[in-house]
């Protein structure tokens, strides 16, 4: 029985979500505690699994038989390899900190029961993805994560922008998930198994090259949607309409890196096709640079961080494309810490300035919110890869892998320049200078619930680089470490600070204006023209068809015909029921007489 205990890690948040939704909804204080304690329970369980799981061996948790049909077989199992255990501990740990933060962030919101129920649902689904032992159950949790993301982005139901952003996130993810499920079906068709443990063995079997490439690209489609890579990246910046703890947990630290985690899981399939790997590497490479450029012209503090998230995830995707899963997971871990920290700090700023998100309306926050300013600078240094903070070690591991791919090295290191540029811009404008309005003038630090998680994450940001992620995951270093990547990337990143410092030190409005960057390369407009408008036109066409042909002609037409024929037949009626009866009786007599004569 004790062997089934790891299922509790999954079940606790689900139980919390269900019980809040069904019973505890009217009692926000109890709901909040239940949800947070459930997350803490999951975290403790994951930590126990992390430290003592290895002594139990590979198949530590008995799988429950789930689908068996023909040759198809999918268990509902919990995976116990180091990758899953490490990721589960990371997810539940960060989630717990964000739970704590949300207690302070939403303390006045009357709907916080709903928020915490949805947060628990998210923790359940995300841990489901992490612990799933086959592609089918991973896909189900994948969709559940999409659902909880939708619910949480649209948490503030009274804001139309939040609803639109939630819809956009959900629909864009559908496109990626469609490719994902095609990839899953293809994997089953080619290898006869969807269980992760079987894949390395089966994938070695000979299959046509194009089919393997197609399957790999299909699975990568799922990553494109969930991890918001080009061309499906458009939903992530908009998802910042959700509450900031959600942006921090889902749209920076955990959910959006699920795509990377999934790629690492199916790496044996991807590695069979050089074309797939190169596609992944180059999409990742360019996606490090482009969002970093866009972030240089954004004014919303959360959107700046969202674009930097796109860029950082792209580093991980690129690493997977280069076949080095270790650095990818390493960067995933450190990124979870410092990006979560940056978002929580941004939330603290927004909270302190009474829901102001425009950095040009802040200013002078360094003096009024010294702790937040301090952790923001810490997170920024980690994000830019400045030693000795955690981001430096993980980024360096990725840069080392690009040593033999000059093109990828150039774009990804160039991205580092712009990352430093826009992060220093954000800090100088928001925290430096003079306050631009009253809200900024009266800004203040939040309660202990806001600062304590930030302090813990700040510690993790500092020392996260020491975590032995790669050796714990048993990913070997593929080649000797090249030192030139380290120096060049570091120099480029430091160089990014220089122009930002001189441009924005005293700026009260943006001294440079590049419309194409501010308008996000017009991708949203292009999608609007190419996909959304034709679809709207088609919808209007079908609506007109329904209105004129179906409702107008068929339904009303048949009604009119019946009515008109009824009116016509009234002409031959006299309306006297007794005359009808008399005619009827006469008829009966005539019939009887005729029958009698026939005799």
């Amino acid at each position: 029985m004790i062997a089934y205990a790891p299922y509790l890690i999954l079940l606790l948040p689900l139980l919390a979500a269900v019980s809040i939704r069904l019973f505890l909804y009217p009692f926000p204080r109890i709901s909040v505690s239940v949800s947070t304690l459930a997350c803490l329970g999951s975290f403790m369980g994951s930590m126990a699994l992390l430290f003592w799981g290895s002594s139990l061996g590979q198949g530590i948790v008995p799988a429950l038989p789930w689908i068996e049909w023909g040759g198809f077989r999918a268990n509902f199992g919990i995976l116990g390899d180091p990758l899953a255990r490490g990721m589960a501990a990371l997810v539940s740990g960060v989630a717990f900190l964000v739970h704590l933060y949300s207690i302070g962030y939403l303390e006045k919101d009357p709907c916080r029961s709903r928020f915490f129920a949805e947060l628990s649902l998210f923790v359940f689904s995300m841990l489901g993805i992490v612990l799933a032992d086959n592609l089918i159950s991973m896909f189900i949790f994948w969709e559940l994560v999409g659902l909880s993301s939708y619910l949480l982005i649209g948490f503030w139901v009274e804001r139309p922008a939040a609803g639109a952003a939630a819809n956009k996130a959900f629909l864009v993810n559908r496109i990626g998930d469609f490719g994902f499920i095609l990839g899953i079906l293809g994997a089953w068709a080619l290898f006869g198994s969807v269980t992760f443990a079987d894949l390395p063995g089966r994938a070695a079997a000979s299959s046509p090259g194009w089919a393997v490439t197609a399957v790999g690209l299909g699975l990568f489609c799922g990553c494109l949607g969930k991890s918001a890579q080009f061309p499906l990246h458009v939903w992530l910046p908009d998802s910042m309409e959700g509450p900031t703890p959600v942006s921090s947990l889902l749209h920076a630290a955990t959910m959006v890196v699920a795509g990377v985690y999934m790629l690492v899981r199916v790496l044996p399939i991807l590695e069979m096709s050089q074309a797939t790997m190169m596609t992944i590497a180059w999409i990742g490479g360019w996606m490090t640079l482009l969002p970093a450029l866009l972030a240089c012209q954004q004014n919303d503090i959360k959107r700046i961080l969202a674009y930097s998230t796109l860029s950082e995830i792209a580093y991980m995707v690129m690493a997977v494309g280069l076949g080095v899963a270790g650095p990818a997971m390493y960067h995933l871990t450190t990124h979870a810490f410092f990006k979560c920290l940056l978002f929580l700090a941004a939330g603290s700023v927004i909270h302190g300035c009474h829901d102001e998100q425009d950095i040009w309306k802040m200013g002078g926050l360094g003096k009024r919110m010294p702790f937040t300013a301090f952790v923001t600078i810490l997170g920024t240094l980690a994000l830019c890869g400045i030693p000795p903070l955690s981001g430096f070690w993980s980024k360096d591991a990725i840069f080392a892998a690009t040593a033999h791919h000059p093109g990828l090295a150039a774009v990804s290191m160039g991205a580092g320049f712009f990352t430093s540029f826009f992060m220093l811009r954000m800090i100088l404008v928001a925290f430096g200078g003079e306050p631009k309005n009253d809200a900024a003038r009266h800004a203040h630090e939040g309660s202990i619930f806001l600062t304590a998680p930030m302090a813990l994450l700040a510690v993790l940001t500092l020392v996260g680089g020491l975590l032995p992620v790669e050796s714990y995951l048993h990913f070997q270093h593929p080649e000797a470490h090249e030192t030139w990547t380290l120096w060049i990337s570091l120099l480029v990143a430091l160089a990014g600070f220089v122009p930002a410092y001189f441009l924005y030190r005293q700026a009260t409005k943006d001294p440079i204006s590049i419309p194409v960057l501010r308008e996000k390369f017009y991708v949203d407009e292009i999608y609007q023209r190419v996909f959304v408008s034709p679809q709207d036109a088609f919808a209007r066409l079908t609506d007109a068809f329904e209105g004129w042909v179906v409702r107008g002609f068929l339904v009303r037409g048949s009604g009119v015909v019946a009515r008109a024929s009824g009116q016509g037949l009234r002409l031959v009626q006299c309306g006297q029921v007794q005359i009808y009866a008399a005619v009827f009786i006469l008829g009966v007599f005539l019939l009887l007489g005729w029958l009698w004569r026939q005799g």
Binding site: R570, Q573, G575, Q576, V577, Q578, A582, I585
Partner: protein, 104 residues
């Protein structure tokens, strides 16, 4: 004065007489209430014929059928009276010849 035994013919003649009275009532009377009573007379004429035939030929089936007729008649009366009341509420009359809205 001996009219002899009552035979099946007598019963059937009485039944026919009742039936004709009923028919005349249905066709000629103007009050909807009386028309419905005449309808009952028609049913009872049929009942009488059935019972008489069953009795004289020793058959059970016609007598069973009579129970069905009585049941259906009861239901028909209930429904008919309800319709009658509804019509009276709208038209304030029960004259059959006033109910000619089917005509153009």
């Amino acid at each position: 004065m001996n009219f002899g035994e009552v035979t099946l013919g007598h019963y059937l003649a009485l039944s026919l007489l009742l039936f004709l009275i009923g028919l005349a009532g249905v066709i000629l009377r103007r009050s909807l209430l009386v028309v419905m009573m005449s309808l009952e007379l028609l049913l009872n004429a049929a009942n009488l014929a059935l019972v008489a035939v069953g009795k004289f030929h020793g058959l059970p089936d016609p007598q069973v059928a009579v129970f069905f007729v009585i049941t259906v008649a009861a239901a028909e009366v209930a429904l008919g009276l309800a319709i009658l009341v509804a019509i009276f509420r709208i038209k304030r009359t029960t004259a059959v010849d006033q109910m000619a809205s089917l005509r153009f």
